[in-house]
Point group: C2
């Protein structure tokens, strides 16, 4: 596996690869890799000739109050995981490389970026759209792999790609979970042992609401009440949102139609750690 | 010359051309072509294997009060001019093709987009940046050709390309002028015969200010006073701006340094027709 840090170098390598007709898969990450990331890399390995993982803790997608500076980093471990998962290239640009002095361009995607994370992290998806566009321009992928855990992000990236007609297929891969159901996330390392055991309530709430829907309940507020009731059964939890929405456009009808795909979305703080999770019910 | 209207088709053609190692030049236009556009196409012809001219009157770069609906169109004449200038492909997408139902993505470039046109047409450069990005994604050019007449637009596109690291060289070509100095523009056709003769005052003002600078005057307000005095020597003219600025970043120092490149920029309405022009003094 080759490690590249310069934008110019990665572009040279991928343009050459494309001229040879190679299929390029990219897995954009913020590093501190876990098996969720590795599963994306394995999916890319299976579908593409050249697999590029990118590691970049993108300052644009953090608000000043958020955890940009303390976001966990461990490049040696990341290298090992990426190599074992079959990556050919690890692209690890610096901030200066991605956003050189005077960088001023912002990309915003309306619609699906507005609710949920868009309310609690108002500049977040602009940062995501901007960095993803630049990473796609630098790595020229045929396919890009994202985890379902960031469900709304997947929708935003799909919309961005469709709107700009980027020749990239966005592949959403299943959320990887710990044995007790907690969705894998680099931020789980912020949790104390006691918080870690309470954190399983997110997935429990999603499963309870899923079951409630399977029993024939399709009234949004009643589904959301199940989510809330389960989440609030543990102490010291703050809910940002606990919602049911249309799985395609994130609209929130009073009543879901029989064939309408539903996504259950939760964001909550356990102690000072903000966690998100979701479940698709189709 | 091949005419293509579908985004999917143009992408298929250019991706195939790139695989063959062909150098692609693109000339983005809003149609109603004149010799200014043709000169861009000839420059592309000289530098590239495949020349694509795009014709798209981009609704996003017009404010509701502006001339989008009455902007002149003549596709038959355009086809002939593009073909004679050596274009291989004329890309003429519809609005629905460029901005399908639900299109929500906006690209904004800060900095150089803020002054001058950015003040008088506040959403204009967002529209330009968005359409140029999409056209570049669709046509995958090695080089893109723009006229100096839209000087600030050239700077915005160069900044966009640099910020996002697009593998495109932006080439700025000289403004083409009528024999009396009026910069060629599709909007000149709005002018009555009497307005047309007054419109030459823009270039006259630029030349007077250029001469004033050549005589050693580098105080901004005194340069701008020359521009204004000449412009206001004709009746029924409204000046949006008549300015001297740094030719790279459009900053406006009180005094220009001896080696500093200066761009003279004017925008004025003659009757109801808004015209722009500029001159580089280096």
């Amino acid at each position: 596996m080759q490690q590249i840090t310069s934008a110019h170098d990665i572009q040279r390598v991928v343009l050459a690869a494309r001229r040879e007709g190679k299929r390029i898969g990219v897995v954009p990450t913020m590093g501190y890799l876990h098996d969720g990331h590795a599963s994306l890399m394995r999916a890319a390995r299976a579908a593409c000739d050249i697999v590029i993982a990118t590691i970049f803790v993108n300052p644009l997608q953090f608000a000043p109050s958020e955890d940009f500076t303390r976001y966990p980093r461990d490049i040696e471990r990341d290298r090992q995981i990426a190599e074992e998962a079959g990556c050919n290239i690890l692209f690890t640009p610096t901030s200066e490389e991605m956003y050189p002095e005077g960088f001023k361009t912002t990309i915003s995607v309306g619609g699906v970026s507005a609710p949920f994370e868009g309310i609690f992290r108002p500049t977040h998806f602009n940062g995501v759209a901007t960095v993803v566009t630049k990473l796609f321009i630098l790595t020229q992928p045929d396919k890009a792999f994202f985890g379902q855990k960031d469900y709304q992000q997947c929708l935003v990236v799909k919309k961005l790609v469709r709107d700009l007609a980027m020749p990239v297929e966005v592949v959403m891969c299943p959320t990887q979970r710990e044995s007790d159901g907690l969705a894998m996330s680099s931020r789980n390392m912020y949790l104390s042992a006691e918080e870690r055991s309470r954190a399983t309530i997110l997935y429990a709430a999603l499963q309870a609401a899923q079951q409630f829907i399977m029993q024939g309940n399709r009234t949004r507020l009643s589904i959301e009440a199940v989510l809330r009731d389960v989440l609030l059964s543990v102490h010291d939890i703050t809910i940002d949102y606990a919602a049911a929405a249309d799985s395609e456009d994130l609209s929130q009808p009073d009543e879901f139609a029989p064939q309408q795909g539903i996504v259950l979305l939760v964001a909550a703080r356990i102690g000072s750690t903000r966690l998100i999770d979701n479940l698709l019910v189709r």
